[in-house]
Structure formats: structure tokens, C-alpha cells
Amino acid sequence: MSLHNEQIKNKLINKFGDVVANFEEPYGMLTFEAPTEMNLKVLQFLYDDEELKFRFLTDLTAVHYPENEGKELAVVYQLHNLVDNIRIRFKVFTPVAKPDVFTASYLFSAANWMERESFDFYGVNFVGHPNLKRILNVDEMTYFPLRKEFPLEDQSRIDKDDEMFGRG
């Protein structure tokens, strides 16, 4: 019998108790949170468990919520159980002042570049990453461009008159 969201949720709660929280099912996809320092334990459990078998990391990304004091940066893991074809979303939150998250590169090789990308754009510091440097942007870039405090437009321009763009 294939796996259901309810079973996954119960297994996680049996194993971790109330450490895993905020279960949601947007569009039928199980989503939950754990404390930042628990991320590897949860991922390892999801990987190793003989029923869960979440052994494919579809995506790893970060999100910036500036209004979320103390938990500004979210790191989102999207995992796929290829046997039962079921996906889940797992989030950890970290303060933007000290965005340290343990790296998942040793569990999933795919996490290597995706963590570099999250570092590049959001400045998430993946502790223990083998090669944490910018992957897409120019090396000289001094900021993390997808954090919300940076406006989308290039701020180095002096030749664009704001009035002509309706934002004077």
C-alpha cells in the first residue's frame, strides 16, 4: 500500500515528538517545520526509514521573510519518495543575523550546488559545506541580491530618471 501524508506525519511525530511542527498540506503536499539544528537528523530519518524512503532531493532553496523577526530566512527542502511517488516539503528557519544551517551535501550530493546557490542569493551559511562560494553571480558581488532589503533595480545606475519610470 502506498504512502499517505497522514502516515508520514505520524511517523515523524512518533520519532521527533513536538520538535516537528506546523504541519500543512497546501495543494496536497505535506509541509512541516523543524528547528534549524535538527535539519540533518530529520533528513537522515526521512532518508533511512524503510517506509518513508525520501531519497531524492528535488530542490533546496531559501526564502526571505523580513517581517519574521528572528526567523527571517527559511531554507526549504523538497523531497521525493521515488518508490511511492510522493513529495514533501521541509522547512527550517534561521535568523538573518546569524544564518547558520548544517549542510546536507554529505547526505544528498545534489545539495552541494543548490546550497551554493542559496548562499549566493540569500547568504545562508551552510556549516560544513565543502565549497561554499558564489555559483551564479559575479565573485565581486558584495551583497545577497534576493534579500528583500535590496531593490530589484540595479542601484549603481545614474542615467535612469525615476520620474520617467513612474516611481519618482
Binding site: L136, N137, V138, M141, P145, F150, L152, E153, D154, S156, R157, D159, K160
Partner: protein, 195 residues
């Protein structure tokens, strides 16, 4: 003979007007001799044999392909010889969005070209960053290399690219042969950090 002739009043082809020749420069000539300014003659030779280096990164490059193909035919201007080595080329045609990470590549290509060299920025992105007013895109290639002619448009039609090319020809033809040794030119190069 096709069963239906669409053009019922066919015009007989004549080659008399089909071959175009370049006007001779201003000068004084007679039986077996001709005198003119050296810069005019050099300019005439240069402007009608420009070797373009297409640096195409996006949709403007597609328009350029149309420009170079038979219908618009860039070869009419003596520029049929596209080369993909900067060392042989006279004109760098930058067509398309240049990301900041691509900037050093454009500059390297420019540096590898031998003097005299010209640059044309085709399209909004190469000229000013265009719609990509964002952290990852170079806001106009004139931030890294000096540009001679800008072609506006998003993307510009082949006619516009041809017009830009003819503007370059005009610049090439009228350029003094001493320009590249002048103080102003040295200052321009230094402002871009080029020796």
C-alpha cells in the same frame, strides 16, 4: 515555363545598374595618375571591407542572422566575411543581453582585436541593459568597452542593424589615420583601463 506566370509584365533583367561601385574620393587625376588624401583612400578601403565579429547572446542575434542572410544581405556592404576570431576582425557587434559575468569576456574579446577596431551595440540590452534593470545584468556595454554606434530597438529590425552598420562605415571612412595615436584616444582608452 511554369503553368501560371504571376507577373504578366515581366521586366527584363539588366546588369548595367545592378553592379554598384564606390565613389572615388575627392582628388586630382589625369591620364594614368590620381592624387588624393591618404586618409581618404585608406578610409575607403577600410569602410568597404569591414570584418564583423558577431557577439550574439540573445534575440538581437537572431535579427542579426536575418541581416546576414540573403534577404537583407550584409555582404552588400563588404562585410560578408564574419570571423569568429577577434584577432582578424575590425568591428565587434555586441547583440544581446550581457550579464555582469559575461562582461569580462566581452572586454577580453575587445582587447584581442587589433587596432583599428570599432564596436556597435545592437539592441536595448547591449546599449543600456534594456528591460533587465537588475543586479545580474550589465547596464550597457559602454561600461566596459568604448562603443561607436548604438542601435536602439528590442530587438531592432534588420533594417535598423543595417543602418547602424552604415553609420559605422561612415565613421570608418571619415576617420583620420592619426586618430588612434591622439591624446584624446589614449585618454578614452585609459578611462576604460585599456593600455
Amino acid at each position: 515555363m511554369r503553368p501560371v506566370r504571376f507577373n504578366i509584365h515581366p521586366k527584363e533583367a539588366t546588369t548595367a545598374t545592378a553592379v554598384s561601385m564606390v565613389e572615388a574620393p575627392e582628388g586630382y587625376g589625369g591620364e594614368g595618375f590620381f592624387t588624393a588624401k591618404l586618409s581618404d583612400v585608406v578610409g575607403l578601403a577600410r569602410k568597404n571591407s569591414i570584418w564583423p565579429l558577431p557577439f550574439a547572446t540573445s534575440c538581437c542575434g537572431i535579427e542579426f542572422m536575418a541581416t546576414a542572410a540573403a534577404h537583407y544581405d550584409l555582404a552588400r556592404f563588404g562585410a560578408e566575411r564574419m570571423a569568429f576570431t577577434p584577432r582578424q576582425c575590425d568591428l565587434l557587434m555586441v547583440m544581446g543581453t550581457i550579464a555582469k559575468k559575461m562582461g569580462p569576456v566581452v572586454k577580453q574579446v575587445y582587447l584581442q582585436m587589433a587596432e583599428p577596431r570599432w564596436v556597435i551595440a545592437v539592441g536595448a540590452c547591449a546599449s543600456s541593459g534594456g528591460i533587465f534593470d537588475t543586479y545580474s545584468v550589465l547596464q550597457g556595454i559602454d561600461q566596459i568597452v568604448p562603443v561607436d554606434v548604438y542601435v536602439p530597438g528590442c530587438p531592432p529590425r534588420p533594417e535598423a542593424i543595417l543602418d547602424g552598420f552604415m553609420k559605422v562605415q561612415e565613421l570608418v571612412g571619415l576617420e583620420s589615420i592619426r586618430r588612434r595615436n591622439s591624446q584624446q584616444y589614449k585618454a578614452l582608452m585609459e578611462s576604460y583601463g585599456i593600455e
